[in-house]
Amino acid sequence: MEFELEGTEQYALESYQWMLERILMEMGISTMVERVRLLIRPDQTLFIISMRVKQSGSKRPVYDIADMESQEGGTFVTIKDESYAPRLLASLWRLYGRERVQQLTRLEIFVEGVPKEDLSDMKLDPEEEVRSQLLDAMWRLLPEGLKLRNEYFNDNVMTIVATEHGMTVDFIAEAQKVHANMIKGPEED
């Protein structure tokens, strides 16, 4: 994990870097973060944090990880790639409800009343869960008193700008600049 620190107080920057490292370690997601930028200016009450997540493969369609067979009253799914089993089951539960999704064995699922075609079109996003965990880590890190927050995110970069009294145009512009630079990557800063 690479850190970039910018601000008016060295102690604050170093302690917040240390805290973020410990929070991510405690949550077990240190390896998912590629780069972090912290911009802290206590004199202006400005706190910006931007994180870039490592690419861990793109979305995978369900037909890629499981065999499907149309049966009377539903679809029978046999999972081929075990590492996707919990995520697939969770997605099916979320989409169709627990009553319609029966887990017959560890890798066999029967989905009631859903045609094979609907399931084949589904895509699983491996980063969805990580993103929500990262957001949680950032919220834990942000000083409690800085209640005015703006968030910017795209596929693999998340940026939060926080202040206390009034979010100014300058703060927003600064956060957008940090966000854009994080998307571009270090070599193009």
């Binding site: 008016t8 107080e9 102690y11 604050a12 302690s15 917040y16 805290m19 410990r22 929070i23 405690e26 802290i40 206590p42 004199d43 009450t45 834990r140 000083p143 409690e144 008193g145 800085l146 209640k147 206390e164 009294h165």
Partner: protein, 305 residues
């Protein structure tokens, strides 16, 4: 002058020690027995300490210094949110307990933020019921030096401020410890434990100073003598709260309702005098408790004449 010590040893022949304490005119402040091991927090006349040490050696126990025994200290954070709790506020509170203090942890209702941080009059009044307060103020120098110091500016008890950045001094506080800011994990590294020790040392200095000030115009009776009398009260004996009587440097907190027991407390006899004549009894701001502040010798004897 009473000295507070802790005996740590076995129960074998413990009655001999208890008798000796009684003979010397001392008190047992707290007794904790776990199977055959016993811990006694005792208050004895300072000049009789060698006798207690001799008896302790005979019984195979040891005497531990508890410089903060007989004090109640508040550790205060900006809020009770997960940004500040449980570390390092609880770590500090727990460490001070090892030196005999009774500690409480408190979070302000609106203590977070830079320009928006506030403390209410009610919160100040609650804090002032304790012997000393420790304020945790965070990692930002700018924020601490410009805004946060106002939180404890008008507090009438000694304040120890704990902050992250290194500073020479801060106004309005009796002591300052730098290098302990926000934490997300328990303080267990050697350098962090050294910081906890430093905080305990500063608190000890502050309490010693307070005790010396009191000695200049000594209290009419030592709080432990009042505690001894209070323990005979039915309401105190029936109280199920932990530590129903807590000693302060200049008085006590009794965890029984003020309104219900005021008459009984006022009529309590201590060395032939009624408690209302030698102490100020007031309602506690927090919970069903009563605060007793013992008057000084000059105050009591001046009135009698």
């Amino acid at each position: 002058m009473y000295e507070v010590l802790m005996f740590d040893g076995g129960v074998h022949k413990i009655d001999e020690l208890l008798d000796l304490i009684e003979d010397l005119g001392g008190f047992v402040l707290q007794r904790t027995q776990v199977q055959v091991m016993i811990t006694l927090t005792i208050a004895i006349p300072a000049e009789d300490r060698p006798l207690i040490e001799k008896k302790t050696a005979e019984l195979g126990g040891k005497i531990v210094e508890v410089p903060l025994a007989g004090t109640e200290i508040a550790v205060i954070g900006p809020t009770l949110g997960r940004h500040h709790m449980p570390h390092p506020i609880c770590d500090i509170a727990e460490h001070l307990r090892r030196y005999g203090a009774i500690t409480i942890v408190m979070g302000l209702a609106r203590g977070r933020g830079r320009k928006t941080c506030q403390i209410s009059a009610a919160e100040k009044a609650i804090i002032e019921e304790y012997d000393a307060a420790i304020f945790m103020l965070g990692n930002f120098k700018e924020c601490v030096t410009h805004e946060k110091i106002d939180l404890y500016k008008d507090i009438q008890i000694p304040v120890v401020t704990v902050i992250g950045p290194e500073l020479e001094s801060l106004p309005h506080c009796e002591a300052l410890v730098c290098g302990v800011g926000r934490k997300v994990e328990r303080m267990r590294r050697s350098e962090e434990i050294a910081k906890l020790e430093e905080i305990a040392d500063r608190v000890k200095e502050v309490i010693d100073k307070r005790r010396k000030e009191i000695e200049e115009d000594p209290l009419f009776v030592h709080p432990s003598e009042v505690k001894d009398a209070l323990e005979d009260m039915g309401a105190v004996q029936e109280c199920l709260r932990p530590a129903p009587v807590v000693l302060h440097v200049d008085g006590l907190r009794v965890k029984i309702p003020y309104k219900k027991h005021l008459k009984e407390l006022e009529e309590l006899e201590v060395y032939g005098r009624k408690l209302k004549n030698i102490a100020t009894i007031s309602d506690c701001r927090l919970g069903d408790s009563t605060i007793i502040r013992i008057k000084t010798k000059a105050e009591v004897e001046g009135k009698v004449r």
